[in-house]
Symmetry: C2
Subunit: 396 residues, 2 copies
Amino acid sequence: MYNKKMYQLGSNPSAIRDLFEYGKKRKQEIGDDAVFDFSLGNPSVPSPSIVNETLIDLITNTDSCMLHGYTSAVGDLKVRESIAEYLNKTYHTSVNSNLIYLTVGAAASLTISFNALVNPGDEIVVISPFFPEYKVFIEKSGAKLVITESNQETFMPDIDEIKKCINKNTKALLINYPNNPTGVMIDEESLKALCKLLKEKEIEYHHPIYLISDEPYRELLYNNKPYLFVTNYYDNSLVCYSFSKSLSLPGERIGYILVNPRCLNAEEVYFAVCGAGRSLGFVCAPALFQYMIPNCLGYTSDLSIYETNRDILYHELSSIGYEVVKPDGAFYLFVKALEKDAVKFCENAKKFELLLVPSDSFGCSGYIRISYCVDTSMIKRSLSSFKALYDSYKEV
Amino acid sequence: MYNKKMYQLGSNPSAIRDLFEYGKKRKQEIGDDAVFDFSLGNPSVPSPSIVNETLIDLITNTDSCMLHGYTSAVGDLKVRESIAEYLNKTYHTSVNSNLIYLTVGAAASLTISFNALVNPGDEIVVISPFFPEYKVFIEKSGAKLVITESNQETFMPDIDEIKKCINKNTKALLINYPNNPTGVMIDEESLKALCKLLKEKEIEYHHPIYLISDEPYRELLYNNKPYLFVTNYYDNSLVCYSFSKSLSLPGERIGYILVNPRCLNAEEVYFAVCGAGRSLGFVCAPALFQYMIPNCLGYTSDLSIYETNRDILYHELSSIGYEVVKPDGAFYLFVKALEKDAVKFCENAKKFELLLVPSDSFGCSGYIRISYCVDTSMIKRSLSSFKALYDSYKEV
């Protein structure tokens, strides 16, 4: 018969998707405005106008066979050159267009990287809370998923905990900042400590331990601090990027993998990336969206809307009495559940028409994730429900 | 270190790509017009105008967050409904939109199907000559590739040969008509005989043997015969489709998988497809190109150009003395090499600036593939080289 594991993955969509589907049904029952759906990380701010202007210009003024034809499997050279130039200028690094591989978005960036690196018996370490699909992608690549908890106060990596997880089988550590689901950005001290640990372990075990940085939220930072670009801190590193969130293009599937030129045998690692992409069935990233990139580098959707949403939710929920992790970026708020079992808490929240994701989905317990990539007006309307939910716990 | 198999696949691109790269270099040396590049299957005819018109209309008149946002993982419902309706009308079948899964093109359709079906120890049978990437995709899914030869006169499936290859481990048979590289379309008698054999073997081994039909060239048929749609002939069948060739959109990566509703446990097979797509990193097919589909179903690029190319090449090469397989469709011509070793023959052809792909790439020996998705003028200019190549063998 068919493959049972694949059947399981296909017939049990993520808890987040489940909640989103529940929300759609509920809205039909009681009206769109009466349901407060904070489930999905689907950008709510339009793409910057340069995106559609560039697409129309390309479609109108490029020869059809050129525009819609195959590009090189690694992506169009001029597009890769523009990305390298942009990254070098913006992050004061020295990446190389010949080590950039264009992908069909962040998920593909991750699966291709894992499949490029993993050999049987390898382990990949992730820090909880983490994006739930990491488990799916890592296990499909043949690696063992190893979970370590972040510091439960700051949600920074806990170096001592990570140290315990690294052994001779560790192939890679995966990080994601600004983080989904906490919104926290790693600070430089933590990043340096993490890299120091990995370097020590590389020497101890005589092989590279790759640091894979999943960066779809890189541009969604609200503190005006410079982004800490991983190639500047650690040699054996790969960046997995997507334009989904920065340009509000999650459905179009466009992103890239970058192999740090200072990686040991960087060119060989890059060839392994190419081979993984080839064998998983990624022929090239969508051509039209590749050609859009050079014009749109450095642009973002209007982030002030997300920032406004964050500020309202953070302040209002804190005032009500919720314990809220202050996010530096992304569009997620991580809030302590009012009972130990976050799943039960989220079930209870549904009575107040609040659709919140329990942190259990992200590999840790006791919290909920609020996606605030929604209309500001919905946030304002939802506040009385958050208050009523809070009060319902006081009464008990 | 990294995965060596992936490195091998990434650092050794296909012979076809190699030849294409050689062609680019050679053109720089002696001029574009002096090299006759028949290597790649990259459509040379523009997309029908409705494609770009629809894209511009969508971009201009759709809300940005709706247009560029995530679609359902299986693809937008209305798009899937339009495809089901079109297929049912065109092929007099009764497929179901809930069993259609939109993909990032044909390669993804295949890798997702293989990963959905394959368990350890399974075998997938392919009929040579076949598209070289089948080997890469099948082996990456964990299945064993089993090759059987087609009839060496007609290039139809050889039922007796296929029979010998099927055993208790056979999970699927993969077919591809019109065929790359021969251009041959299967006839109804052969298809029926093939399906009869598979049904007998299903009964013998008490499990489904899936017939996977890879159909990127479905609309590129020059004989005005109706296409033999596989769901009408065999229950446990899947169709892997791509709009790359019919609409000249190979770079945009858009296609679909269709599970036959008459498949045993069709819904479960479909869920396995969903799970495979999810775990390989295909979040959804590119949204803009999904929404383009309903308007463009039934349209094709101007196929008369390919037909003209076929006619010129078929008649002229036959007149010179070449033994040519008459193609019913696609844009490939399969020609007997003038020496036993087709690789050597193609090396020799380079002296006449003819870039031809040896059939060894397609799992059989003694032939060459000519991709005639090129300018008709290049074909005309190349004829004297084909003549000179032929004469060089007469002299020996």
